[in-house]
């Protein structure tokens, strides 16, 4: 998918940011355009992916799940097996290496579930950079284990108390911090969102997921899959899983948004189902908002999907009908979380469980000849306390 100079995907994208940051994103764009074609940079990134993050991640045939659901053949793309336990490390290693080449010595980032914060803190430790993570205060409570991990890795974690004290506020606060300190600091954005060039950079670093899926499935099945299913917060694991299949029109692409308590309630984070076109956090895209454009306080049991917007390339894939976006409730995601744990012995992140849930509905309607690939974007250890709480059990972490 080509992006024009301003990083537009159809009408979406752009660079809606304060003047103070414009030269910073321009400098980033120039550096990225150079290094993405630099063989030394790419060799170093490949080495980090393979030696450090443990790539390629496995494409696992979920035989028991396939048999149990009695329809399509199900494969799991195991991003949960990456170092730090989620797909977030792919993007972070790329951006940290780029920042280092640009002469930056400090990384800042937002985090929702804490996975992107942990990945950023990890890369900062690895590359000898200092690190500050902004996390909604509400999320520091939901994901206390990840707060500890970030501190252990040497990062400073700043609880954000403004607005709804969740992911969108952490993003706003990280932008504010970047505005006040640009020279030595790179803002390591965690998803395919924000102003150009972030949606393109993050997508490119995450596209390793679909590149691997394609090679792995061709080797195993000698054909392309019928469905790729991934969860969508900002949309980085989903676009990474879709990217190399976008031109293969026979492969259906499905993004699973968090419906929270349901798309007909106010406690939802399903942007495509309930949002409308708007401009926020540097981009034009779909956002959950009221009639006056005030951003809605969204809700999902999953801190990583609890965001009122969606990346501009997804908004475009939705407009063109190339990808389909469905909403999955808390209850459905928790059921899938438990199901995959019991059926395959794999505890998925509650974010990823949204994708598992939709596959559980879809697979029985398909035939044995069909193939579904579900991206398991992360591991679920971080979620155990919250899911137990959801089920009315209090396990002290």
């Amino acid at each position: 998918m080509m992006t024009n100079k301003k990083g537009r995907f159809g009408v979406h994208g752009g660079q809606y940011i304060p003047e103070t940051l414009m030269n910073a994103v321009t400098e980033l764009e120039i550096a990225y355009d150079f290094y993405k074609n630099d063989s030394e940079f790419n060799a170093e990134l490949s080495r980090l992916f393979n030696e450090y993050a443990g790539r390629p991640s496995r494409l696992y045939y979920a035989e028991r799940m396939t048999r149990d659901l009695g329809g399509a053949k199900i494969y799991l793309k195991r991003e949960d097996l990456n170092h730090t336990g989620a797909h977030k490390i792919n993007n972070v290693l790329g951006q940290a290496l780029l920042a280092k080449r640009m002469g930056k010595t400090r990384l800042i980032a937002e985090t929702g579930a804490g996975q992107h914060g942990v990945a950023t803190a990890t890369a900062a430790a690895l590359m000898g950079m200092s690190c500050v993570i902004f996390m909604g205060e509400e999320d520091t409570k939901r994901q206390a284990l990840n707060v500890y991990r970030m501190r252990l890795l040497g990062a400073e974690v700043i609880p954000v108390k403004t607005g709804t004290s969740t992911l969108k506020d952490a993003v706003s606060e990280a932008f504010r911090e970047w505005t006040s300190r640009i020279d030595d600091t790179h803002y390591c954005l965690g998803s395919v969102m924000g102003p150009h060039p972030f949606p393109t950079i993050v997508r490119d670093f995450q596209s390793v997921i679909s590149r691997e899926i394609k090679a792995q499935i061709l080797e195993r099945e000698n054909r392309l899959p019928d469905y790729i299913i991934a969860c969508v917060g900002g949309g980085s694991n989903a676009i990474g899983s879709f990217y190399h299949f976008i031109d293969d029109s026979c492969v259906k692409l499905i993004g699973c948004e968090a419906a929270g308590r349901g798309v007909d309630t106010f406690e939802t984070a399903a942007t495509i189902s309930t949002g409308k076109l708007g401009i926020f956090h540097g981009m034009k895209s779909y956002f959950c908002q009221d009639e006056y454009g005030q951003i809605a306080p969204v809700y999902s049991i999953s801190a990583g999907l609890d965001y009122p917007g969606i990346g501009p390339e997804h908004a475009y894939l939705h407009d063109t009908g190339r990808a389909e976006y469905v909403a999955v409730t808390d209850e459905e995601a928790v059921n899938a979380f438990e199901y995959l744990s019991k059926t395959e012995g794999i505890i998925p992140a509650i974010e990823s469980a949204h994708a598992v849930s939709y596959a559980m509905k879809l697979a029985p309607e398909l035939s044995r000849e069909n193939i579904i690939v579900i991206t398991i974007s992360g591991r679920g250890d971080k979620d155990c306390a919250a899911i137990a709480r959801y089920r009315g059990e209090n396990i002290n972490e």
């Binding site: 940051l21 414009m22 910073a24 607005g163 505005t179 300190r181 708007g278 401009i279 908002q289 454009g293």
Partner: protein, 272 residues
Amino acid sequence: MQRLRGTEVRISMSNIHCAFENGKAFIPFITCGYPDIETTKAVVREAVKNGADLIELGIPFSDPTAEGVVIQSANYRALQGGITTDKVFDMVRELRNDIHIPMVFMTYANVIFSYGTERFISSCRDIQIDGIIVPDVPFEEKDEFLTECKRYGVDLISMIAPTSEDRIAKIAREAEGFLYIVSSLGVTGTRSEITTDLKAIINLVRKHTSIPCAIGFGISTPEQAKRMAEISDGAIVGSAIIKILAEYGTDSPVHVGEYVKSMKNAVRIVRD
């Protein structure tokens, strides 16, 4: 009828230049609806009575990413109090019965976009709003609103920051109304010291445009305002005024009036 006449009179140029014809300008920023709309009206009237040359009216946004904690919380409280874009328009319409100095809106792109860009900007013209300041719309994205702004004679105010460097020329060349010079890195909020070489920035601006330059972000004291006026055409003050509103609530108008008087006195006497 009214509408048509308005179009003819105001088509190409707003009244913003009037704000800079009374010595160096003092420009207060006020978050609409904080703590309530009646207080906002009274504060505007007091500010004008005490020498404000142009009023910057903030339409609250849920997530004001260019704002420091003071203005953030004013936005939040105003929205909690039920302020909406339509209520702000009604307020301005009423103020226009007795307030004749230029007024501009300061708000975020989504507030304008979601209202319908044309509907928003034509309403600005109808209620005699002279310009809009949109901190999350840089030069590269100004086409988002520029066509409508030009059609309805509302100036789209551009900002220049300490990091603008090689961008200054192109921004200045196309600037309308006045140029908002951001004094320092970071978000809005009062600062004890402003260290940016603003004189160098303004000298560069002057090579490309003759429209007025006002400096904002971080200014709170008469001494700071005076120093800013010495190198520019005026000073913009936001957080310091919002702090008065936070302290005195509905009793603020008289206090804001006193403050505006002291600030205007500090800049008025400055000569180029």
